[in-house]
Symmetry: C2
Subunit: 120 residues, 2 copies
Amino acid sequence: MAEDRLSPVFSALADPTRRAILARLADGDATVGELAEPFAISLPAISRHLKVLEHAGLITRSRSAQWRTSSLEAAPLAEATAWMERYRRFWDANLDRLDAHLRRVQQAARAHENHEGKPS
Amino acid sequence: MAEDRLSPVFSALADPTRRAILARLADGDATVGELAEPFAISLPAISRHLKVLEHAGLITRSRSAQWRTSSLEAAPLAEATAWMERYRRFWDANLDRLDAHLRRVQQAARAHENHEGKPS
DNA sequence: GCCGCACTTAACCAACTAGCTAATTAACCG
DNA sequence: CGGTTAATTAGCTAGTTGGTTAAGTGCGGC
């Protein structure tokens, strides 16, 4: 699982501070100081959150004089949603009954091919 | 951030084993043993992955005799995608130029209201 | 009633994470 | 050059994660 690009993305999104940073960057690029301002945590902490986001491919960074500006990079989010899309049918109300039906059929098929007395 | 329902979901999805378990459950309910079978890790390890998924609301569990069956629960995935949807415009090719334009405008506005010599 | 199966809990370990303060790098400004 | 500003790196701590093996629980079958 070394070439797994999805895990760092979900892992990055698991932190509320990092999600807030992404939300802020959706309004435009920002420096580390600007990004840190709304939070009650130290600058080094923000700096490392940014490193996590960069490693996940969710931001790119550039320097100009003594300022490092971060830019939102949404491509990994597209991959992440693509993965989740496979489950959309499980929460789409219109397909709920069809879905439940299909799952029951598939389970019956599995239970049939290896009938070991396992529960339905 | 105690009442944050999104973080446990993203955190659960950050592990490839857990994503594989969800993928398996999309084909129908399964017992712990069935879920463990494709992996080279111990049963207790699977058991704890399931606990993480359950805590995130991504599965529900029921017992029947000595078997515990897990069922996929996709509602939290709907919440997670809803959060990501806010960024769809950033990767949708058709909107890329409009988007870049809007961000530039917003940045210009910010730079104007507090002109401290910060970079564009 | 106790044997075995399916699974969980307990106890432990190594690696990682998120936070801190202090020190360092890098660039501009006077 | 020396000081200030912006940010990173270093070194620490505490808590979490993901794995292990060994022991415990709960149920059905002989």
